[in-house]
Amino acid sequence: MANENKPKLKMAVYWGAACGGCCVSVLDVHETLLTIIQHADLVFWPIALDTKYADVEAMEDKSIDLTLFNGAIRNSENEHMAHVLRAKSKILVAYGSCAHMGGIPGLANFSTKEELLSRVYDESPSTINPDKVRPQHEYKVPEGTLEIPNFYEDVCMLDQIVDVDYYLPGCPPQTERLVEVFLAIVSGAQLPPKGSVIGVSERAQCEECTRIKSDNRSVDRFYRPWEIEDDGVSCFIDQGVICMGSATVGGCGVRCVKGNAPCRGCYGPVPGVTDMGAKIMSTIATALNAEDENDIIKAIDSIEDAAGTFYRFSLPASKIRRKIQ
């Protein structure tokens, strides 16, 4: 399979504001890693290799063939590396929900920077900080000046900072999809047009879901998954549990629902949908059966943290991408 004379691809995997799960999903290729290594040199991968930022900065522009950038942009370090990797890479892929839509770190856009810092450094029950110490961007010590990255007010997704070639969504992306995409690049197959979301189907999760959906939804109120006993057969929304499947594009193989958990929407919107949360609001609201205004308000009150649920992975990518101040 390997052509000995063919130069190996240069590949980088980097994390911004991320949990590390995306990098682990790359490791999850298991023995296929051998095939990947046969075709590619990993030149930069902080979770596994000790390449320094300076080494990457010293590389020639466009010398990396493929960069998988996971994680959102939360601070000046993330932004700096996004610019560096954009300059050094031929193909830059926003890998995973955080780079694609802001992801879980993007939920911080429900708070201001001051609210976050005050929670962490003053208010949280486990914090003892009588001197009200806060992180400083620069700190002078006898040996010189220490610097830590600047913490930003807003969390952004990768394409709000740099130009992105492809999006490979998921929290984390299904490893099989990564392998397919990788092998397509290696084999020199015709790549999809720039800006495409890759590794997804064209239809909603519901299309692949095996649960039975009723034609006439009639939900009294909404429950959190632990509040009901799931029958394992009928559609989650029919049972009054919020499932993001109808607004979420397929591609993961409805893994969550197969594991008897409702879809949370990590794969991003169905093509044509501009605001994923708004679309699911539409579905969820109309599933209710109440007609009296007070009953409707009561039923809607049963939804805990509505905005956080609907925009679990996509707040920075939504129309109103942060809480208004």
Partner: protein, 155 residues
């Protein structure tokens, strides 16, 4: 009232008037706005009307898009409960309206910026009243900050 409005806004923006997106259902509220027109009723020229076939067609994406592109407020008009041309569309609209209000609360958007009114085809006068009231409320509330805040990523 006119004097008061003028004084409030004279410094901020001389010509600022609220921009209200009005989304009206074809069978009731849009017809009411026609009636208001032919009856020569006067109301502030603050609305831009979009006609949809039924208030049940209202997609929350419309609301969020309008806010993010600079609408100061949105008025939704539909048939009275029980009178929907398609039987239940207005109930769907009412449920969505309350869910969007819940979302708006979390996003710190004033609830007055989104209003739902049932206005039947014969209530042209009511339509003029509602637009007048809403213009007054939004003028007091001031210009929406959403467009500006969404456009600028703060570092």
């Amino acid at each position: 009232m006119q004097e008061e409005v003028k004084n409030n806004n004279i410094q901020t923006a001389k010509a600022w008037k609220p921009k209200i997106l009005a989304i009206f259902c074809n069978w009731c509220t849009y017809t009411a706005s026609d009636l208001a027109g032919v009856s020569r009723l006067k109301y502030p020229a603050t609305t831009r009307v979009v006609r949809i076939m039924c208030s049940g067609r209202l997609d929350p994406q419309f609301i969020l898009t309008a806010f993010s592109e600079g609408a100061d407020a949105i008025l939704i008009g539909g048939c009275h409960p029980g009178d929907c041309h398609y039987a239940t569309g207005n109930y769907k609209c009412l449920r969505r309206f309350h869910l969007i209000q819940k979302y708006m609360k979390q996003m710190n958007i004033e609830p007055e910026r989104l209003r739902l009114e049932w206005i039947s085809a014969s209530e042209g006068k009511r339509l003029a009243e509602v637009i007048g009231e809403m213009t007054e409320t939004i003028t007091k509330l001031g210009q929406s900050k959403i467009k500006k805040q969404v456009a600028n990523i703060e570092k």
